[in-house]
Amino acid sequence: MSLPGSGLAKGLAVTLRTMTRRTVTAQYPDVQPELPPRSRGVIALFEENCTVCMLCARECPDWCIYIDSHKETTPPATPGGRERSHNVLDRFAIDFALCMYCGICIEVCPFDALFWSPEFEYAETDIRDLTHERDKLREWMWTVPEPPALDPAAEEPKELATAQKAAEKAAQKAAEGAQDAGPQAPDDRAEGDGA
């Protein structure tokens, strides 16, 4: 059993203690917020990587990505070869009035053409201006931060391993070309490390 009224005193103490602490108010327009890594501000398009596969537009839950393209053919690289056709991007637009920032388009893009940018100050007075066209989406690309560093104990990214393997193979080939005979013990060991 505690003293009668001790709860009342405790209540007063809590508010008094809070008054002496620093406030938590974010003074946003005066002071920019410190955003956490991987903040979802706006979607940027790295159009050089886009192959117009349309996966992003088809996976988008609210259909806010508009893509137009046409086919172009390139003449055969070697005489007698086959003509190659590829898609050329005409229009890529995201309507941020519809976008719900789920990030599925970025997840689904197989060619790393879409990225999250932490920029969030792009409010407009006209809703139509919220449809960002290709050049604007490309501009956002400059605001995309570097990918965060891996954890110290993380396994090596696949891209790195693939590139390393390719480099080793090339080196091995070069070595084989230089000296045809003899065991290749050091190369074997290097390959074992890579696997």
Binding site: T18, M19, T25
Partner: protein, 319 residues
Amino acid sequence: MDVLDTVWRLLALLVAFLVLPLLVGQLEHKVMAHMQGRLGPMYAGGFHGWAQLVADGVKFAQKEDVVPARADRRVFQLAPAVALLPYLLVLVAVPVAPHGGVVQALDAGLFFVLAVLGVGVLGSLMGGWASANKYSLLGGMRTAAQLMAYELPMLLAAASVAMAAGTLSLPGILAEWEWWWLPWQIVGGFVFFVAGLAELHRPPFDAPVADSEIIFGAYTEYTGLRFALFLLAEYAGIVVVSALTAVLFLGGWHGPFADGLGWVWTLLKTAVLSFVVIWLRVSYPRLRADQIQRFAWTVLVPLALAQIALTGVVKVVLS
């Protein structure tokens, strides 16, 4: 006392009446914010929002003055003035400094002060009845019930001080005051201060103006300047109740260097009590109407009667 002196005193009174409530209001903005981990107003006036209440006043002045069609027009329009002016009148009799540091020393000062304080609550009753609004009527009824319940312990507590001093004059009470009155009258001081809070409808006794259940009670239909006057009356009431508690129970201008700095001591004690009023508002939830009644009749009235008995016994023993 010549004319110039009188004018000078009245001017000082008017300035104090216009400035002190605003200071308390600003203090409430800031203290309440920081007690909740916020910053409070930061923009108006540039430095930490010091002019927020001035901006609020300008806003209120711009708003349309609406009187509901079914309202009792005259009473409705008169109510804010009835709520605000008594506090101005009370300040007339409150001594700030020794040796005539009071606008008008009254022989029955305590009687005058308590009688006029009761009139202030009538403003809420008038507003509640004349608004022709159910919420306002509920608020007015709760105000009336609270007034009934808390006027009694307040008078009893004040009577205890008057008994101790043997006079009803406020400067007279302060002249009699000794430091050991502080522990002697502490219970009475508590009763007086809490009853004063209840009369002002300050949290936790704000059931009559509970904004989340009866939409500010008697003030539901008020807009613009008249609403602002009600709000100003609340803060003026805080100043008056704090000042009266300081004068009656905390020794008013008594303190080191009282001859020169007496008014500083009065203001300081009033400010500390005003801070406590705000502190209580932040810390405690609203009491229900029945809890408010029970607290008055089962706690405050017996405490006040016990204080009077104690005062009487000590007085007899000393004489």
